[in-house]
């Protein structure tokens, strides 16, 4: 499988490490009301789609960037690759 890195171009999947659902970026505020329930959902509840899935990959043997890869879980086709930094910033998660 080839992941088309937004900065470095196509790179072999063996250079990457898989983390999981990109929804992990949206970590709840631990001090907000209802934090316990929010963290339960954040930790334990996952969608398991048969189709397009946004997931976090880490380019460990490369530039060490975190990526959000949109992958079809049925065909393994990768349709979009973004820097997780950009995704997080667009969600207001980072400075």
């Amino acid at each position: 499988m080839i992941i088309n890195h937004p900065i470095l171009g196509p790179r072999d999947a063996q250079e990457f490490v898989y983390l999981g659902d990109a929804a992990l970026i949206a970590r709840p505020d631990g001090l907000a009301p209802g934090a316990q329930e929010a963290f339960h959902d954040y930790l334990y509840l996952r969608d398991n789609p048969a189709g397009l899935h946004r997931e976090l990959w880490y380019h460990e043997q490369g530039d060490r960037s975190w990526l959000v890869v949109t992958r079809n879980t049925l065909t393994h086709e990768i349709t979009q690759v973004e820097l997780a930094r950009d995704v997080a910033r667009s969600l207001g998660r980072s400075k």
Binding site: L8, D12, Q61, D63, R64, K95
Partner: protein, 188 residues
Amino acid sequence: MADLMLAPLTPLGHALPEQRNIGPVTLTEVIDSALGSLTARAGRLAELAERAAAAGLPLPAPGQSAEAAPYGAFWLAPESWMVEAPFASHEDIRAHLVAIFGDAASITEQTDAWVRFDVTGADLPRLFERLSNVDLARAPDHAATRTVIDHIGCYLVKRGPTRISLFGPRSSAPSLWHALETAARAAF
């Protein structure tokens, strides 16, 4: 202070750096370069670029390396570079870089974290196609990338068509040397 007389060892553990000729290629353990990593602090990339330009220190684009004596650099990650300089004049490379960049960058001394092996000779792609997934034949001169060789994460810098510098973890220096020797004997 005790007057200690300690003999320095090279990464391969000897008094002098190793060199080995195998077929058309020469493997050389290089101990005369100092390394420091340079990473822009949040939101200060423009200032870092200005200071680098004023000091004549190159900041190559992703996947590339550049040289401008006394400094050389290769790209590591977004807003992050590895800076090379001659060990004799820049043994304390961090102090040199802090003088240039102040607090616009985070600078870490890397000299003793890495071992540098230079591989020279014709037909290097034939050797490296056995070692890593980098397409060396199509990579332009001055390409620089991280790759895996025998399970060891390395930086590979293509200085020119017949010269490559490999930076591997110093603690794995003998293993990386063994991988190079073995592949060179198999290839030539």
